[in-house]
């Protein structure tokens, strides 16, 4: 069928306009963003592997269980022995920076949409769009705005990984029991006091579930971001695909899985520990 409505054309025009007019802004974001990611990466790569492994194992033992600690120890050691340590740390750096930025945007958005019906009505379809749009699509504007490299990788990751944190923050705040809020109001608490002393502490567990989801989604996206030269394990996976190297593909894929499980168990355990108290 012939194309009668060409939405893509308008999107392209909009993106071109942004590129033409906001170039200095994009450049600034790119430079400072890259600097941020690279400094995290530098720290992670330069810390000796055994210290990193020890820290992760300790965190797993402290917040999850002995079993998870054993898995963490063996899994991370396996990654090192397979020779993917540096790539894994690059990926981790990208996850950490993407997650931090995603949360900085997502948590206030979640709070806002929990408290304001209009905000909720606008934000919800946007989140639907962000979550269901095929992940690869985000790579196009990322590359157009920031060309290739780590920062556009992080940009695509942030968009892709943000929605669950927004949703779960909003959910957590909406679930705070009405009588607790009323009690706080009856004591003369201001909106700010209610937010920081009542709503956020009570929503913490749900918010941490959102953080956990964001981390895992970041992980799946940074692999895709390997396609735009974001480096790390994604690039190794891609190399395996391109060369039909089943060995390389499996090993780098396995590293992603190990990293995912370790991050998931530790963050989930952390969430449970905090809320049980």
């Amino acid at each position: 069928m012939e194309k009668t409505i060409d939405i893509g054309q308008y999107i392209a025009i909009a993106v071109k306009w942004l590129m033409a007019n906001l170039r200095p802004l994009f450049d600034f974001i790119k430079t400072s963003g890259n600097a941020g990611i690279e400094s995290i990466e530098w720290v992670l790569v330069s810390v000796p592997f055994f210290i990193t492994i020890a820290l992760f194992t300790f965190a797993a033992w402290r917040y999850a269980s002995r079993g998870v600690a054993a898995f963490t120890l063996c899994g991370l050691a396996l990654i090192y022995l397979m020779g993917f340590w540096e790539e894994t740390m690059q990926t981790l750096a990208l996850i950490i920076s993407s997650t931090i930025i995603a949360l900085i945007i997502a948590i206030p958005l979640g709070i806002w949409s929990a408290k304001n019906m209009t905000a909720h009505r606008v934000i919800r379809p946007l989140l639907d769009l962000m979550q269901t749009m095929p992940a690869f699509v985000y790579l196009i504007p990322a590359v157009l705005f920031f060309s290739i490299g780590k920062l556009p990788g992080a940009f695509a990751t942030i968009i892709f990984a943000m929605p669950p944190a927004v949703r779960l923050t909003a959910l957590g705040i909406q679930q705070v029991p009405g009588d607790v809020l009323e009690a706080a109001r009856s004591l003369g608490a201001t909106q700010k006091q209610i937010l920081f002393k009542v709503e956020l502490p009570l929503a913490l567990k749900t918010i941490l579930t959102g953080v956990n989801q964001t981390i895992l989604l970041s992980l799946s996206m940074v692999v895709i971001a390997g396609m735009i030269a974001a480096g790390g394990l994604g690039e190794k996976v891609l190399e395996g695909i391109n060369n039909l190297d089943i060995g390389l593909g499996f090993e780098s894929g396995l590293s992603v899985v190990i990293l995912a499980i370790v991050l998931d168990r530790i963050t989930q355990g952390f969430g449970n520990k905090i809320s049980v108290k």
Partner: protein
């Protein structure tokens, strides 16, 4: 007598309307349209329909009604957790409804505290931190708030539980935390919304008793919302009964029970155990004909008995102090002997009570002599009235048959 006490809270024409067209609904209400008409025309629900009442300082004021009667809503209007649509609420003479946001926060922080049915405790904080929460909001430093919170904890009997988390406590204990939290701010007014309704019956009774003794010590102005008439009667100095957002009646438990203002209140109070509420004060025959000792001799006594048609009269001295009863057959003999006074026939070993003694407590005083019961003023012994045994028995017929039989038997043995 009560009207002389200082007014703490005055509610004037308070109206609360739920819905979007509040203004037109309010106008219709003022023009005298009914709730139904307003709902049909504006799609607004009238939550509270022109409530007017005064609450005195130190009074235990109960707002009572079934669910949907607007009682909890009315309570929340007092500290503006729910914004009233119209009318005024004066606390210490200042109109709460005209206060700006900051002033309102100050009122909530210092003048009024609230206790909730579901406690409303912060699950992530210890008992101590929950109790100190109000002070924390007020911005007091840690040392001061710990000290004050500890005092409140001691007051409600929560010593030793300071570091527990609320979830570890039973319902009754959780509500103590809620009460302590409200008391820590040292408010003049305590708002209690169905505070004991979520508790087991036994715990509920215990908490009610403790609240009464606490109130005797602290003398706060308490506004207590409940759907339980027995609780209202037990706790309240005065009770307001609400139905569909309208105040049906305001009065003491006794006024409401003895003189229900509307059929609704009447239907409501029928189920109540009257013997524990009706007191000598309401049952007594006021200003009875008396024999003045030293002035009325036996002849005078007999004349008074003839005119009143009574066979027994109370005897008082010049200060109206109750001395005893004289009986008609004794008085006849006394008159024949031509005694100057009734001293020889004066029965001094007779039951006397004060006005607040209940029917239940008067029942054991019924004796074979069928002596009336004298009601006297507490300290002076001044005679206020007479309660006949008949009227006690009439109230007592609300007991079951067996109880009445037993009482009569016991009386005859005396």
């Amino acid at each position: 007598m009560k009207e002389e006490r200082p007014v703490k809270i005055k509610v004037e024409d308070l109206v609360l309307i739920f819905g979007k067209q509040k203004e037109s609904a309010l106008k219709m209400l003022k023009e005298g349209h009914t709730k139904k008409e307003i709902l049909a025309k504006t799609h607004c629900t009238v939550g509270i329909n022109r409530a007017n009442f005064e609450i005195y300082e130190g009074e235990f004021f109960v707002i009572m009604g079934l669910s949907g009667s607007g009682k909890s809503t009315l309570l929340r209007c007092l500290n503006r957790l729910i914004e009233p649509t119209g009318g005024n609420i004066y606390v210490n003479g200042n109109d709460i409804t005209r206060k700006n946001h900051q002033e309102l926060l100050d009122v909530r922080r210092t003048e009024m505290s609230m206790v909730f049915q579901k406690f409303g405790l912060l699950p992530h904080r210890s008992v101590l931190d929950n109790v100190a929460f109000g002070l924390e909001i007020r911005g007091e430093d840690l040392e001061a708030r710990t000290k004050k919170a500890q005092q409140a904890i001691d007051t409600v009997g929560l010593q030793g539980f300071e570091q527990q988390s609320p979830a570890q406590l039973s319902g009754g204990m959780q509500q103590r935390v809620g009460l302590a939290r409200a008391l820590t701010n040292d408010p003049e007014v305590l708002l209690m919304d169905e505070a004991f309704s979520a508790l087991d019956p036994l715990i509920k009774t215990e908490m009610q008793d403790e609240l009464i003794s606490l109130q005797n010590k602290l003398r706060k102005t308490v506004i207590f919302v409940t759907h339980d008439l027995d609780e209202a009667i037990k706790l309240g100095d005065r009770i307001v009964i609400m139905k569909d957002g309208i105040i049906e009646q305001i009065g003491t438990a006794e006024e409401i029970l003895t003189n229900p203002a509307t059929p609704y209140v009447e239907a409501f109070v029928e189920k109540v155990d009257r013997k524990t509420i009706i007191t000598a004060g309401s049952l007594m025959h006021q200003k009875p004909t008396t024999v003045r000792f030293g002035k009325d001799g036996p002849e005078g006594t007999l004349r008074k008995m003839r005119t009143t048609g009574l066979d027994v009269l109370p005897v008082v001295d010049d200060n109206q102090t109750f001395l005893g009863f004289v009986w008609v057959n004794d008085a006849v003999l006394c008159a024949k002997r031509k005694d100057p006074t009734v001293e020889s026939i004066l029965k001094k070993e007779v039951p006397t009570v004060t006005t607040e003694v209940t029917v239940e407590e008067m029942l054991p005083l019924i004796t074979a002599t069928r002596s009336p019961i004298a009601v006297t003023e507490k300290d002076t012994g001044v005679l206020l009235g007479i309660v006949s045994q008949n009227s006690v028995v009439i109230e007592a017929t609300r007991f079951n048959e067996q109880e009445i039989t037993e009482l009569k038997e016991n009386a005859n043995h005396n």
